[in-house]
């Protein structure tokens, strides 16, 4: 009896120290951001991301024109004071369409990444924690999805299911889910054997609590880095699908559709290609810079690993 109490006391001590550690983790997040803000690349990345978010949220107030207002008499206009970036094939203001295009890019990338993260982490944790047959089945599913080049899978699935924004988000999430599952599984496997998990278990904590409170917080750092890079990838896929005519439907302002129009009228006006290329690449650059400096902050030894999708 006495021994048991002593044992409990010891376990409680471990748990308390762990709680303090978690409090420290909160502090760490603040610290991470202050380090990122000291890094030039990090500042640049965050600035770009903030600008894009502002464009997406406040587009009706920022955009100088209605992005759907046509002015056929004034098509293919070069940049001027009236239209800062010129006009497109229907005389629509390119700047306004670029600003509105941020909405589609953000919707698709945030939607896709968040679904992929949630599903991937849940599956990966389940695989790592439960093990056995479930582990093998989940690994198998992930490997089958990864056996296709991502773009081929996205292209074909979107084409079969029909092009629409929700379908695009679901397909993007589906194809990038395996990488989160893999990371989550590997981290779960390594965390599972830690002493404090054993301690919590012997105190009678349920599996759900162990997973939610103890394992998932440890998985998050690598997952957040992956998600940052994935945002860049999703922006690219959305533009690519829309470019092929399999993404957003034409009147909608999307960077990919602008590039498509620019490609179609390449001999008449260079401006659509130039501005939409800059928009797509800047958005991707912002997220990769952010992810890269996050990686350096969280894990200084690792170098840029997986960046290029295509």
């Amino acid at each position: 009896m006495v021994d048991n109490k002593k044992g409990n006391k010891y376990l409680l001590q471990i748990l308390n120290s762990f709680k303090k550690k978690r409090y420290k983790q909160l502090k760490n997040i603040v610290r991470i951001f202050s380090i990122i803000l000291k890094d030039r690349k990090g500042i640049l990345g965050i600035t770009i991301i903030v600008i894009i978010f502002c464009c997406a949220i406040f587009s009706p107030w920022i955009a100088p024109y209605d992005p759907y207002e046509q002015d056929i008499a004034n098509r293919f206009a070069a940049p001027s004071l009236k239209h800062l970036l010129g006009t497109d094939n229907l005389g629509r203001d390119i700047l306004s369409r670029i600003i509105y295009g941020a909405r589609i890019a953000m919707t698709v990338s945030i939607g896709g990444v968040s679904i992929a993260v949630v599903v991937g982490v849940v599956l990966g944790c389940a695989a790592g924690y439960i093990g056995g047959v479930i582990d093998n089945v989940i690994l198998w599913i992930a490997d089958v999805i990864r056996a296709f080049p991502q773009i081929i899978l996205i292209l074909v699935l979107v084409a079969v299911l029909g092009p629409s924004i929700p379908n695009m988000i679901m397909v993007l999430a589906f194809t990038s889910m395996p990488q989160y599952a893999r990371v989550a599984r590997a981290e779960t496997l390594s965390v599972k054997e830690e002493e404090y998990i054993f301690a919590v278990k012997s105190l009678g904590a349920r599996t759900k609590r162990i997973l939610l409170k103890h394992i998932i917080p440890n998985i998050l750092p690598p997952v957040i880095i992956l998600a940052g890079m994935d945002m860049a990838g999703m922006i690219m896929w959305e533009a690519g699908l829309s470019f092929l005519g399999l993404g957003v439907r034409p009147p909608t302002a999307s960077w990919g559709i602008m590039l498509r129009n620019g490609y179609r009228y390449i001999r008449l006006s260079p401006w659509m290609i130039i501005w939409s290329s800059i928009a797509i690449s800047m958005a991707m650059l912002g997220y990769s810079l952010f992810a890269e400096s996050l990686r350096i902050t969280l894990n200084p030894k690792e170098s840029m690993e997986k960046q290029v999708g295509v």
């Binding site: 292209l155 084409a159 470019f243 295509v310």
Partner: protein
């Protein structure tokens, strides 16, 4: 080592079976009745019936899946196109060389330029040249290939008129084919140039920092000799892995570039079939790319394990 090889190979079988099942079931993802969706609203019931029989849609799923797999394994039979009735096998075989040439040439470009840039940057660490190269490689990795293709087309074909706009060149005329190859392969290569330059730079710096380089330095071996004879040997390892991985990824990425430059490759075949709703051709193309992708990943993994024996302990 052998154990790792065997394990890696054994895991391929269920993966490939899964891949087969997935491509087979693509047709069932079509909304509504697959045959009538593919043929469009003007098809008569008889035509729909005939297509259903041809695609095996009138039989239970497992029976037609079995037939599908059996046909592929024994005869390499992928069915035939819904519209042109050509066997898919020969359709893909015609397209494949264009894509392989494109992927291989862009990989060669990426490796040569990327390595030169990476070595230059690491040799002059902290200099202006280094920051220019690092900046370039960061920006280059953020340029998707379809964006690069459009920009290159705009500047080199439309403005400067140096390169042809579309097509793959005349048959039999190697010079013209090469001429048509330059822009597409550069647009595929550009993000890989950045990636490889970055990779080489960081691994070179890491290796140059290690103890045995210090020892070599203390023996008075000239820096140039150390960099090329000792450091580069180790820094090249990750590039080996990238080559295998990259070839597979480039096969997929070729879709955009082939559509933009109108090259009759694998990606263009798949994209055209997608637009024509010719699902059997899509299935065949997807299966072939997946197969090549799995193969190149396997080669990448095995060569990496071969070059770096520590990998199996991870």
């Amino acid at each position: 080592m052998l154990q790792y090889f065997v394990k890696r190979l054994a895991w391929l079988i269920p993966t490939l079976l899964g891949v087969l099942f997935f491509t087979f079931s693509l047709i069932y993802f079509l909304p509504g009745d697959p045959a009538s969706t593919m043929l469009g609203p003007r098809a008569t019931p008889e035509i729909i019936k005939a297509l259903q029989a041809r695609l095996g849609l009138d039989k239970p799923v497992w029976v037609s899946f079995g037939k599908y797999v059996w046909g592929i394994i024994t005869k390499g039979d992928l069915g035939e196109s819904v519209w042109s009735h050509q066997p898919i096998y020969s359709l893909l075989l015609q397209a494949l060389p264009y894509t392989i040439i494109l992927a291989a040439s862009s990989m060669v470009i990426a490796i040569i330029i990327g390595m030169i840039l990476g070595i230059l940057a690491s040799a002059h660490e902290g200099s202006v040249l280094d920051s220019i190269i690092t900046g370039f490689s960061l920006i280059a990795t953020s340029i998707p290939n379809f964006v690069a293709a459009c920009l290159l087309l705009l500047f080199f074909s439309v403005f400067l008129k140096l390169f042809p706009v579309i097509g793959a060149g005349e048959k039999g005329n190697i010079l013209s084919q090469l001429h048509h190859l330059i822009l597409p392969s550069f647009s595929l290569a550009i993000s890989w140039i950045g990636y490889i330059a970055y990779l080489i730079r960081s691994t070179m710096l890491e290796v140059l920092d290690s103890d045995y380089i210090m020892t070599a330095k203390s023996f008075g071996i000239p820096m140039r000799c150390i960099a090329y004879k000792y450091a580069l040997k180790n820094a090249i390892k990750p590039v080996v892995a990238v080559i295998g991985l990259g070839l597979g990824t480039l096969l997929g990425g070729a879709v955009f570039v082939e559509v933009i430059f109108n090259r009759p490759g694998l990606g263009k075949t798949i994209a055209d079939a997608v637009f024509a709703r010719d699902i059997p051709v899509v299935q065949g193309g997807v299966l072939l790319t997946a197969f090549l992708y799995v193969l190149s990943n396997l080669v990448a993994d095995l060569s990496y394990a071969y070059f770096d024996p520590r990998i199996q302990y991870k």
